[in-house]
Symmetry: C2
Subunit: 382 residues, 2 copies
């Protein structure tokens, strides 16, 4: 397959590029370094030292003997995106090329609009480029479980069969996104759905849970192939932050009661899911939706797992609750369906103490790079 990876320098994009490349696919990576520059703006960084994209590509060539093409392109530049899609003629476009941070989008008006503009404009450009020059390509778009929020009913995969006043229809599942970032993904989903209905494009919308883990079969091959590990309050995720806090002797900070539940998955399962979706494309005119996570946990459960794994390694970890900077339900029903990818063949790799220990070892290795200032929640929803 010819695979275009948008956001191919990112936490998931770079491992995805190597994953396909190793399997013999022809991979073209595009990025505009939004995450790297976002960290510069905030004076923070990935815990793992990551190589520049062009060094990653060179190291990959040396180690795997495979070429990955990489180009620095901002996909909100329609002219460049369109000609790139036309020239490369991808079978599959894996689209990670968005700003994926809820706190970032809640900093102020400028960050909210930057997030929505960047994400919605980039995806809209992609839809027009596909319509004009690659109408048979398959868009594999990363959405988020956060599009659904926490309704009081079972969450289905993208659509809901509704029976109302004696009539029925299958309609898009109603969304209750919890930040301007999550809203940008809802906007994307509506735009993509329309493009599939009206232009006959093919798309798979992967509503992904929170991804954890540092290593894939490819990142492990060489330090120059490492992917990023963000633990700061803006770009990091809870599990990462908990691991860093445990290692440096800072209390594990749980926002509010910690009874908020979310879906989670291992980075290796992200690669499995994206590959499964790519090898079995959506039909023309179809926006297929999968909920991409393998287990649901409460934040408190996660914190306890990290705390106990850390203590068994001899750290002195403990949990501390802090005022929740977000506006979100803490006690809520949560039962999202996630059978579609299992039916396609996903073999989940569930969260284990061993995985957390591996993460803690990596944090230990790079703990001199930790910035305490980056951890405390500074962005308020209200």
């Amino acid at each position: 397959m010819r695979i275009l990876v948008l956001g191919g320098d990112g936490y998931l994009g770079w491992p995805t590029a190597m994953h396909f490349s190793r399997r013999g696919d022809d991979v073209f990576v595009v990025d505009n370094f939004t995450r790297r520059t976002g960290h510069i703006e905030r004076g923070t960084d990935s815990l793992t030292p990551i190589s520049p994209l062009m060094d990653r590509v060179a190291a990959w060539r040396q180690i795997a003997g495979r070429d990955i093409t990489a180009e620095v392109v901002d996909i909100t530049d329609f002219t460049r995106l369109r000609s790139l899609v036309k020239d490369f003629a991808p079978d599959t476009i894996v689209h990670y090329g968005e700003i994926p941070s809820a706190p970032y989008s809640m900093i102020d008006r400028d960050h909210a609009w930057e997030t929505q503009r960047n994400n919605v404009e980039g995806t809209l450009n992609l839809l027009f480029a596909m319509h004009e020059v690659a109408p048979d390509a398959h868009l594999v778009k990363l959405g988020t479980m956060g599009e659904y929020g926490t309704p009081n009913i079972d969450i289905e995969e993208g659509y809901l069969d509704i029976d109302h006043n004696g009539r029925t229809d299958r309609l898009p599942f109603p969304k209750l996104p919890g930040s301007f970032y999550h809203l940008s993904k809802v906007h994307d989903s509506h735009n993509i759905h329309f493009a599939c209905r009206v232009w006959g494009l093919r798309a798979t919308d992967l509503n992904q849970g929170v991804v954890y883990g540092l290593h894939t079969d490819e990142t492990e091959l060489d330090d120059r192939l490492l992917t990023r590990f963000d633990y700061d309050e803006v770009f990091g995720t809870a599990l990462n932050r908990f691991c860093v806090q445990s290692v440096i002797g800072h209390p594990i900070t749980v926002y509010g009661s910690g009874s908020q539940q979310r879906g989670f998955l291992n980075i290796r399962d992200t690669l499995q899911c994206v590959e499964l979706a790519s090898r079995a494309p959506a039909a023309a005119g179809e926006m297929r939706v999968f909920n991409q996570f393998t287990e649901a946990f409460s934040v408190m459960e996660l914190a306890s797992e990290v705390c106990s794994a850390a203590n068994s390694l001899g750290y002195n970890a403990r949990i501390e609750h802090c005022v929740n900077p977000r506006v979100e339900l803490e006690d809520h029903y949560y039962n999202p369906t996630h059978t579609g990818l299992l039916q396609l063949g996903l073999k989940p790799r569930l969260l284990s103490e061993e995985l957390i220990e591996t993460m803690l070892h990596t944090v230990e290795r790079f703990k001199d790079r930790v910035s305490l200032r980056a951890i405390a929640p500074a962005t308020q929803w209200r």
Copy 2:
């Protein structure tokens, strides 16, 4: 009340401004002349000759003895919008300030993005401005019935009580918008809903049908107070186009079978609805949704009404079907609820042959201004 009217130079905005001003409210009008410049770009114009905004305001002062403040502001300029909202301190913000054309948004990528950017950024700016400097103001936002599309179930007003696997919740009504313009309104609705939930803002989302009619009690007072009448394929609506075609001896062009059904209302009822919503604001934290139309018709029914009214006035009108440039269901179920505004006190003024005759008389008066080139459908959905 202190009322800020965004898009106050437009078809509905200007009559709305006069309507409130005449009732003693303090009206501040903002516009960036998007519609006037859109016509310049396309070489088309309103059938009615409309005065420049500043002349309208001067004529209103002379005729009604009331001041309307007007300022040329692009609401995508957050700094200006915020300071304006802060200084004027409105009780109510009536928001018509969007690009409201489905065909315009379907011309190409640039027009699609211009529509979504303008509409979503403007509304997002307004939400941030309200949050920061006018948290108790009431946003009266014009949405569109086109957000819902034509699902196979009854359309409720904004929300749907869902019973699913034995659990229930009241969730946003699923949307199937039919153009990038309609999508922009869906994006707005999600952003507004979020701002109400998280910041406690008050908003009323008026999902309006297609508005017809030229005159209100205020526009009739003087030709300098006339509102616009668009009949071209990009900014015009079907009823207007049918009237113009009948008067100039052009066949009435129905897209496809004409069995597509839509909700309609008289411009005088728009003013009633906006006033009713403004005088009974939504609660803090509430995004209240009303479906703002009074009758549903098929396009064919409208065409027949115009045809018969025209023929009774001595014109030689006839109906001709042309290939539908849009991608839309022609035979579909359509039963949207619209009781909320009736409960607030709306007294509908239904479509009558007399109203159509009045429109035909106005077209006759200005028929030398008709551009034939403007009528034919040029914008294709595919």
